[in-house]
Symmetry: C2
Subunit: 702 residues, 2 copies
């Protein structure tokens, strides 16, 4: 009983540490990126302003492109060579992992280094990406590391602290906490973060775990708040619970019923343009997979994107030359004058000479007159294309912020349009310019939500995240409405960006429900067979050969029936990993003798999570003739179903219990085959243009 309490306590403690560490990481990244980015853009701005007079504008252009190129290539190389799993935001991987798929390499120390350093370089390299998405992945890696109580370094060395939680189930629970903490400290959204972790992991939702996940994400949010407030000067002010916030409006956001139709119209646009984004990115991803699959090509492509980003931004700033005298909302923002005079500055410079986050902030909060329609249209087009091109590069990058920025820009356009359409708005009383600013910010916010909803097809958790970011619940209602509508419109055309990713990568995630129209399929129709089975006492040679030849992760153990060999009743299930450890530890003996020793759960844990490979096992010919007694090790009550079991019910078992393999037996309890996740994930329902269709997916073997 004491043991139960102790274990309970230590789980909370680990969750607490996860929250703290994630917040530390978030604050560090935030600090480093902000300082360095400011340095970089300040430098460019100076050359800009000097050269506009001296006709040497090629200097800032080349310098900008050069800086971007060098940093981005370094970041891309880091990701590509250290751990390619660290590319992108990592959210599709994390979601799949929580769904129950094992993804090797996802939670390693290498991935951590590549992810965190990589994202700093991507943003400093001027790519159209954010640092928020990758926080979920970084948080998960921290959680997995703390849960295992061990860090594995590159060269096979490791430091080990404790081993109490070394099994997939526990680690997955901690990882849920880590992902939640990551999201929570990125967006200051503890509730949204918790939901983010839990909605995918149906089998693991329980009250106790939920509290722990919530606790760690609250700790992360609080600690981030404390640290960022401290960086900004006063640690007790606690006004920055996350890395990105939309709440700096001067008034409370209010909306009127008559604005709802405008919002709905915007949601439709968001859904359509989001679907376009997904389609274009899909084509690009397929193209990349086919032609750009060499490491050096990937790095070159990243560098190219970084240079083009700088070049295009430069071109727009010089070409449009939209001058404004309105001070930007953020007093620290870098503003370049370029050709503007009279203390005016180039309005696009506040959008391009900053991080994508700063750009989003400017679009939401800058005064009404800051950005002219022409600049905004150009910005939307360019940023949309850059966003499509950037997502999927072999760099560590998030798609949240660019999506939001695109949406905020065209939302601002709509806001300007609305303000022009009804100039005699009775609300425009004394503070007309302030109200205009608020209004245009409101439309920018709605536009941002629409665009994000159209690209990512926000789930409940994303909705909550956006609402928490906005920090204004009564304005949450229109946000929820537009997120929902843009999701519907988008879903009518394509799947969401993350789902598209998962599909292209062939990760066998299971949807929430069995696809319809599969009711008459049986377990025997989908199972893999013939089956590789072991007897309770099996020859070492057979085991070794089977492990070498087959890739199955689990093997049924059957009764040793001398009359009908290979046809015995099912006794249990043994995992590939267990067999490998048993072979490695040489737990076998000549037939008839008693094995020299047993091994305990501790021995298995020592190998977790990087289990052995068959090639690492050496057996002499004599040893191969020995016999291994599997009785103490196999799981004597694996989940089984009869062959006539219907597919929807098999599906529910996998989804509800988080199974990885299920043994199919005949009426006499003899194993006939195995159903694995991959067998089920093949069936997927696509609903395109309102029609339901079922397709079989190709699942990659890894």
């Amino acid at each position: 009983k004491k043991w139960v309490t102790l274990r309970w306590l230590s789980k909370w403690l680990v969750m607490f540490s996860i929250g703290i560490m994630t917040a530390l990481l978030a604050a560090t990244i935030h600090f480093v990126v902000e300082k360095l980015a400011h340095l970089k853009f300040d430098l460019i701005k100076h050359y800009f302003d000097d050269c506009a007079k001296n006709n040497c504008l090629y200097q800032p252009a080349l310098m900008w492109m050069g800086i971007n190129l060098v940093i981005t290539v370094a970041g891309a190389a880091l990701v590509t060579f250290l751990q390619p799993m660290a590319a992108g935001s990592g959210i599709p991987y994390i979601k799949s992992y929580l769904n129950g798929v094992k993804i090797p390499g996802l939670l390693t120390f290498r991935a951590f280094v590549a992810k965190t350093l990589g994202v700093v370089m991507s943003i400093l390299g001027g790519l159209a990406c954010g640092k928020e998405g990758p926080m979920a992945h970084s948080g998960s890696i921290i959680a997995a590391g703390l849960g295992r109580g061990r860090i594995n370094f590159c060269n096979g060395k490791s430091i080990s602290f404790y081993s109490a939680f070394r099994n997939d189930h526990e680690i997955r629970d901690f990882m849920a906490g880590g992902a939640a903490s990551g999201v929570s400290s990125a967006f200051g959204a503890p509730i949204g973060g918790t939901l983010f972790s839990l909605e995918e992991a149906a089998s693991f939702w329980n009250q106790d775990l939920t509290w722990r996940v919530f606790f760690s994400s609250m700790v992360a949010c609080f600690a981030t708040n404390f640290l960022i407030s401290a960086i900004n000067g006063d640690p007790t002010k606690l006004t920055d619970p996350g890395l990105v916030r939309f709440n700096a409006f001067k008034f409370d956001l209010k909306f009127d019923l008559i604005e709802i139709p405008v919002f709905i119209f915007m949601a439709v646009i968001g859904g359509l343009s989001g679907a376009l984004f997904v389609v274009m990115n899909y084509k690009l991803t397929v193209f990349r997979k086919r032609y750009l699959n060499k490491n050096w090509i990937k790095i070159i492509e990243a560098g190219l994107v970084a240079m083009v980003s700088a070049a295009v931004a430069f071109g727009l700033m010089v070409g449009i030359n939209d001058c404004t005298d309105k001070a930007p909302f953020d007093s620290h923002a870098v503003t370049a004058a370029v050709y503007c005079t009279d203390k005016k500055h180039n309005s696009l410079s506040t959008l391009f000479l900053t991080t994508p986050e700063g750009c989003l902030k400017a679009l939401l909060h800058d005064p009404f007159e800051s950005h002219g329609p022409v600049s905004l249209v150009a910005f939307v087009l360019i940023f949309f294309l850059l966003g499509v091109w950037t997502y999927g590069l072999s760099v560590s990058s998030g798609v949240f912020i660019p999506s939001l920025a695109i949406g905020a820009a065209w939302g601002r356009l709509v806001g300007i349009g609305v303000a022009h359409l009804m100039p005699e708005n009775p609300n425009l009383g004394v503070n007309s310019s302030l109200i205009k600013q608020l209004d245009v910010g409101k439309f920018a916010l709605i536009g941002a939500a629409c665009q994000l909803g159209g690209i990512l097809r926000t789930t409940i958790s994303l909705t909550v995240i956006i609402v928490e970011c906005t920090d204004d619940i009564s304005f949450g209602l229109p946000i929820m409405i537009v997120l929902m509508i843009s999701k519907w419109v988008g879903d009518f055309i394509t799947t969401g960006l993350y789902d598209m990713n998962v599909e292209v990568m062939g990760i066998p995630t299971l949807p929430f429900e069995c696809p319809p129209l599969c009711d008459d399929l049986r377990a025997s129709d989908v199972m893999s067979h013939p089956l590789a089975t072991f007897k309770t006492k099996e020859k070492v040679e057979n085991i070794y050969r089977m492990l070498k030849e087959e890739t199955f992760c689990g093997f049924p153990v059957i009764e040793d029936d001398p009359m009908a060999p290979g046809k015995g009743k099912l006794k249990g299930l043994i995992l590939r990993n267990q067999l490998l450890v048993l072979l490695k530890k040489k737990i076998f003996c000549p037939e008839g003798q008693v094995p020299p020793r047993n091994i305990t759960i501790k021995d298995f844990r020592d190998f977790y999570p990087v289990y052995l490979k068959v090639s690492e096992i050496d057996l002499s010919d004599e040893e191969k003739s020995y016999v291994m007694d599997l009785k103490p090790y196999y799981n004597p009550s694996p989940y089984t179903v009869e062959q006539k079991f219907s597919l929807p019910r098999v599906f529910n078992l996998f989804r509800g219990l988080g199974l990885r393999h299920l043994i199919v037996t005949d009426e006499k309890n003899m194993p006939m085959g195995m159903v694995t996740r991959k067998d089920l994930a093949k069936f997927r329902v696509g609903s395109k243009r309102g029609l339901v269709k079922i397709e079989q997916l190709k699942i990659e073997d890894k």
Copy 2:
């Protein structure tokens, strides 16, 4: 394929209607209660003010007690005689239902009438209860009614519209939407409402359902907002998304790091007093179950409580005579002068001459000097005792508002204390009185959260509900912290109020995880046996007898083995309800003949959800000798496990899949016994004073 789309659409449509209807109900109740309560208290106030001068104060006292008595007795009689299931808030029942327990009578038209009319009467009757809790139950009934497409009136008549969704699974999904809508329109908390529905129903959490539930709760919130805004004058203002809100603070709520220790201290108090509340109510509930179980005694008790409530309030107002000249926050509030002169009024009159909600609002928002410490102490003590006494009466009532009011009152006390301890607070600049009001309101809010957390042991959903009610996410952090701590402190002493309720009522809900230390129990240890089985072709007489004698809800169907009767292999599972319908429809024939007709799923649906009783079936002796062919009707692939299956895994199956019965088979696939929810719910882990213990519960047979 068209059918799939149509079905999908109609589910959304039903969810939409659920949201609208729930909002209509909420707005109606709100309107009726507010108007009538205002009339009642205005009347009492006039007598109060007149009689204070003329020394006839017995008049308002008697009148107050009389009004309370009459209305409460009427409300209690309504609930007790029409549908006793409508007593209390209904939340424990709804949670159990979502957990997978069938509760007869919970979702009937009678329950709806008793619940909605009952709650209006309880509040007009002056009981210390709220109208918010019951909204979850009312919403669920609306949802079940709309889902079934049929209303069953008292006298067996019914109106039927459509029958597409008449099975437990679909109705449960709609019910989740209804409960969410109810919570959402009560508190203006669409996210909290969604979580409320989903956290208990682990087996039914899936993305698609989540969206539908979210949709209906959003519709409910929006419609409530619209309707209440319309009642208040301007339907397009949309500022009242729920019946109760805590957001009317004049400034944004801010907190400072140094206030956190005070909050934590308050959370500990909240946890302790919450546990005291639960313990006292538990003793009372047991006492009531034993001695006050007659209908007329229940009604008398309710009347007594109503009279005592009035008498005590009267006594306090006259006895303490705390005069204030501060205008109350709510300009419509009824204020009685009693003995006060100089346009002052009795400060307790703003707390007692109003609904409990109005009282809560006054405690949160009234000016700093409005309520003196003596009045507050007296209020806390009295309201605490009345709250304990009221919860569990046979009236329709919620415990949310009284809990919050108790906490707000002592939170306000703490706020006054803090203000006195640091008079030289540097924040107190120009607007010192306004800031004091804000501060005292802030502490009142934290106190309310602490008390609620201590009594109900808030889950994630309640946390979100409170945060949404407060409408200020950055202040959500301290609220989350105190809710968590008060939960921990309370859990150390007792279970929460709802869990206590569920336990006392003996409802077989399953916890989220198998209790620890049960690992070596097997399925065969917990199963019910011997087992009642049927052959695939069974004599009508046997079926009839078995249904009469046994109370099982499902029967295994076995192979007809002439060699060993009653020992055949398992073929499937047939439900009691199916057999009853088959008998009623006389789907049998003399042996050797082909049955005259088959019945379809439509026929079964016609009987849903009020299935037949055995006593309603008449069979002639000839018919009893006939044979029924079960083959077309039984479920050929029920979930089964082998007898050696461990208890935690059996548990996971029930929890993960929402099972009601599981067949246990031996190695040869012959059924040996059945495991039902009740068999599992017996094992429950209690953690009292930090020690873990496992107890076997008594589960009532209903």
